[in-house]
Amino acid sequence: MSLSDLGRSITGALRNITSSDDIDQPMINTMLNNIAKALMASDVNIGLITSLNNNIKKNLQFEAGASAASKKRQIQKVVYNELVNLVDPGVEPFKPKKGQANVIMFVGLQGSGKTTTCTKLAYNFRRKGWRTGLVCADTFRAGAFDQLTQNATKAQIPYYGSHTETDPVVIAQEGVKKFKSQNFEIIIVDTSGRHKQEADLFEEMVQIERAISPDEVIFVMDASIGQAAKMQATAFKKAVDVGSVIITKLDGHAKGGGALSAYFQAVQSMGPISQVMGMIPGFSQSS
């Protein structure tokens, strides 16, 4: 289900209730059910849906003798508030500071779009006049450094990496050091894809974070992800200090379903979120 479909479904569920003459419990249950179904069809985490429903129920306390109209107003307000609570991170987004080094570390599951998005973000900063460099701290994936090199070259962004050094912690540290010594303002560090089930990979990520003390850690999430989003996003947040999330591949379809789930999960546990995609002219969306 696309984001706009979801919006429509939720509005529809609300409209059903507001267009009837009186409000009773079965009607409220039907509305909650319809909202839950719409969210489920968008891959929103099932636990999140349950807690949303419970919160709405809890906050819907009608005063004795309240009119149907005032009940309806209250329902709308409570549902709206709870949906907003899901989405609102309540934190200020990360703002890099001019004239000093801002180190940004990318993390995420395998194939989520880290390397591609690193370049898009770097390009975006470079175009706005920031001195920007890219560091490839992925020594695991075959061809990772070639990929970053080719992307960075196309986007005309200085990069650092190695075909021979096998320790990503060392590369990350050296790369950041080199760019700092040359007064770069934005230093973006790409890392390998990983997942919570492999403790060694998570440990490596923690060590890179420790070695470079990033000003911001960005978690990159694929819009098509399903119910596993919660388990993985939560684990990343627990391991490193994720400050923002970028959702990729939104061009796949209007179906931002999983993205929505990812989004809800992410903003609840991680903070501000941005969407970066297809920003580089001459770069097609998926390049």
């Binding site: 990772a144 196309k154 796949g252 999983g258």
Partner: protein
Amino acid sequence: LFGSFSAALRGDLTEARLDPALEEIRRHLVAKNVPADLAEELVAGARGRLLGTQVGPFQSVQQVIRDALVPSLQRILTPGASTNLLRDILLVRERERRPFVITFCGVNGVGKSTSLSKVAFLLLQNGLRVLVAACDTFRSGAVEQLRRHVDNLSQLSADAGLDAQASLIELFAQGYSSDPAEVARHAIRHARAHAFDVVLVDTAGRMQHNRSLMQGLARLVQINQPDRVLFVGEALVGHDGVDQLREFSRILRQQTAGGGGSANARGIDGIILSKFDTVEDQVGAALALTWTSGQPILFVGVGQHYVDLRKCSADAICAALLS
């Protein structure tokens, strides 16, 4: 004893007893990453079969529903088509004396190139000669990625003391921005001339609704008529997985039908489910993909190394879904 037994059996499954339990099971399936509409369909089927029947003495309603779901799940997970790739390859080698061509396709970043390399490893171990065709001529580093895999696999074969002639792997690449369908055609010609047993065709990731990229894939299939077109999907995917596979099948069929009508049409012949190691028991994507396509899962990817390729076990997936 007999008396109390039959008394307990008189637990009629009325709507009032069944429906709340069905709702619970539906949510359980959704939490396992089964798409909501499929979960609903499964539960509705179970409801039809169970309504008015009786619960046994030591069973919970939930257990009865789970038992009733197993046959449907098994049926979805095990479509009829052959999953014995190795046998099919050997058959073509024996009877037609030509290389067997397998194309890997799917959306961006799901694990096509990695899965291809794992399949190559499996084939090498079985003494086959493998040509890898670098037909992702688009994504940065795609060719170097495959070259690295081919070098590694070559080295592994040598280390394992495999007969250099019998088991051999080579990369066929023509750089970037060349036409993938042409690269594949040349690769297949090269494979015929040099007695390769299998050609593994890597393709660029593409979004299922990107019309021109999808047409490009259809053209590659149309021109080269691979023996298998495998769809790589990741176990992480949610509802979009159904849409991906449906669109890949639909557009391929539509664009390859040509003048010959649907008789010539080529769709998806099988599925590789990657990143299975990242979802624990949330294995609903396995069900969603077989349900959508009626095609079997040939392999499951369970890690980032060459050995991390498994046969798909319907029993294990059923057990995980219902656990």
